[in-house]
């Protein structure tokens, strides 16, 4: 195979892997939006919060230790134990479910039937609240997340692909990050699990029912509150995976919450209410931005990945505002 083609393949692979993670983050938005009409601005902060919580739990940090020390003059900060990643993630899941319950119970339950813009504003408030809560509980220093995921390029893939180039060409093989591979596999599993859950379980059916028609859902005995807690919990699980993967890569710090910005163009592309749309949209943006950078980046001064997705999404908004799979919006007059 010619080296140019192999490079193209490598870029595409990396794009697909980034895309799966984008799709996952976008799914977090879609779940909540479909079931409750809330555009959850706090999705990114949820990822940050879950990553902070995971580190805190694994390291045996005492939550709110700064606050406690300041109030009582004590000097506590750690319990002195360590918890492995598996149980750490399990506890974090419990925390995220608790958070989902509180969000529904204390915020959105009181806002049922409000305008979408009001619900959106509430999620902005929630984002700032959670950011503050994360700092207060676990401290605001940058943390490393050591859940034991492999880092660095995969030698197996490098060795394997090195032999693919045509005779006599200089080619050292593809560079594929191991962490990206793990992230892709985990994200893909979660995406598939979410789709199966929505499609084939009783709760999934109830979730789709609530997304479709509140009155009808009530009339067959579905509790809207329960479904809303459920979707916020699922969005919380999505946030954990996103938080772990991004956190393992670049440390747990505020910038982690910006991954949500990556999901926005995916949503514009895929439609805010479509699960397949989020998946395909994520892959298109992942591959698109990597290939674009590879082909045109050098000509345009690089860093096209920062804006490419948004330009693509804007073009979509002009020509197909309902997204790839969204239903055509026809205003009834």
């Amino acid at each position: 195979m010619p080296v140019a083609f192999l490079n193209f393949m490598e870029v595409t692979m990396n794009g697909l892997m980034a895309g799966v993670l984008y799709a996952l983050v976008a799914l977090g938005f879609v779940l909540i939006y479909k079931a409750s009409g809330i555009f959850n601005y706090a999705q990114g902060v949820m990822a940050l919060f879950s990553a902070l919580t995971l580190v805190g739990i694994m390291e045996g940090q005492v939550p709110f230790s700064h606050l406690i020390n300041a109030l009582l003059g004590t000097e506590i900060h750690h319990f002195g134990w360590h918890i492995n990643a598996f149980f750490g993630i399990l506890f974090t899941m419990v925390v995220m479910v608790g958070l989902a319950y509180c969000v529904q119970r204390f915020v959105f339950r009181h806002l049922v039937g409000q305008e979408p813009i009001i619900l959106f504003m509430a999620t902005i408030g929630l984002a700032y609240f959670m950011e503050g809560l994360g700092d207060l509980m676990w401290g605001s220093d940058i943390k490393t997340l050591a859940v034991g995921l492999p880092q660095g390029g995969s030698f197996a893939i490098e060795d394997l692909t090195a032999t693919w180039a045509a005779e006599g060409e200089r080619y050292y093989g593809m560079y594929i990050d191991q962490l990206d591979i793990v992230a892709t596999v985990v994200a893909a599993i979660l995406v598939i699990a979410l789709v199966l859950f929505a499609q084939y379980t009783k709760q999934g059916r109830a979730m789709r029912a609530v997304a479709d028609d509140h009155q009808a859902a009530l009339s067959v005995g579905i509790s809207l509150n329960f479904i809303w807690v459920l979707v916020w919990s699922l969005a919380g699980f999505v946030a954990i995976v996103a938080g772990v993967m991004w956190g393992a890569k670049s440390g747990v710090q505020f910038s982690l919450s910006l991954i949500a910005l990556k999901a926005l163009p995916v949503l514009m592309l895929g439609g805010f209410t479509s699960i397949p749309g989020a998946i395909v949209g994520g892959l298109i943006i992942g591959v698109g931005e990597k290939l674009f950078e590879y082909q045109f980046g050098p000509m345009l001064g690089g860093a096209t990945e920062n804006w490419f997705a948004y330009v693509l999404a804007l073009l979509f908004l002009v020509f197909r505002p309902q997204g790839l799979f969204g239903e055509k919006i026809i205003e009834r007059v």
Partner: protein
């Protein structure tokens, strides 16, 4: 009242004791009184009709029974117990199923999925049980699926099982909504104008389904109809409402000869 004793109708169906009783229900919307001090009961196995001109408060009454509206005054008694304030989904879980005057279906889901949602009450395994103990959840799904297929056959909508509901014509949507309500095996089935907007043939089909449902499954049915003629053929007993008040209650014959009812019906234009 001696409504507690069962009796057998002329066509051989058994009507049991009172299953639901509305006591002195009053419902207001701001200044508008939609229901004024109405009492009536529904007996097991009967077809009970609520009729009256447009705006009489019939849908409001159905909404009170199904928990969508909360009356300012009055009590709802169900299966011999006073019902505490309840949310609509809790009422549904108690076995009271309903359809809506303006059809409320899950438009994006298939007919089969729509009818399956009616079984939610019967499907008891939790989120994690379904993920972990796949066998039990699968068995439950299969059993409920079988029941749903029976309902689909019964209402003659096999041909559209896999069609998304949004694509169906009005008459079929009404039938799917009925199927979903019936799938819940309700103790009481509430139908809000099941025949509204239908042509003569569709109305006849719907009447037949309602009678068969009641006859074969013994389903207790409370239905709203705005057209006197249809109701007289279907129902065992009729409540007549006008301007939020009850102006008649009894067998079709009794109601038909009630002067106040005749006046109310002559006083409004039929559509």
């Amino acid at each position: 009242m001696s409504t507690q004793e069962s009796y057998v109708t002329e066509d051989g169906r058994t009507i049991g004791p009172t299953v639901m009783e509305m006591k002195n229900i009053t419902l207001r919307f701001g200044g508008v009184k939609a229901i004024t001090d109405i009492s009536f009961d529904i007996r097991e196995g009967e077809i009970r009709a609520i009729i009256g001109p447009n705006g009489a408060g019939k849908s409001s009454m159905l909404n009170v029974i199904s928990g969508f509206y909360v009356p300012q005054e009055g009590e709802v008694w169900y299966k011999g117990k006073k019902r505490p304030p309840m949310r609509p989904y809790q009422v549904a879980q108690q076995g009271i199923a309903r359809t809506f005057q303006n059809i409320a279906l899950f438009e994006g889901m298939t007919v089969l999925d729509n009818v399956m949602t009616g079984r939610i009450r019967q499907m008891t395994s939790g989120v994690f049980a379904q993920a972990i103990w796949k066998g039990k959840a699968e068995k439950e799904e299969v059993e409920n699926r079988e029941f749903v297929e029976k309902i689909i056959d019964f209402l003659e909508i096999q041909a559209i099982r896999k069609t998304p509901v949004g694509r169906l014509p009005y008459g079929l949507k009404k039938r799917v909504e009925l199927a979903r309500a019936l799938a819940a095996e309700p103790s009481i089935l509430l139908l809000d104008e099941p025949m509204a907007g239908m042509n003569v043939e569709e109305k006849e089909d719907m009447s037949r389904f309602i009678l068969d449902m009641n006859d074969e499954f013994g389903t207790t049915i409370a239905l709203i109809e705005h057209d006197m003629g249809v109701v007289m053929d279907l129902s065992d007993r009729v409540v007549v409402m006008d301007y939020g008040k009850k102006i008649g209650d009894g067998t079709p014959d009794e109601v038909r000869n009630n002067q106040e009812v005749i006046d109310a019906y002559l006083g409004v234009a039929h559509d």
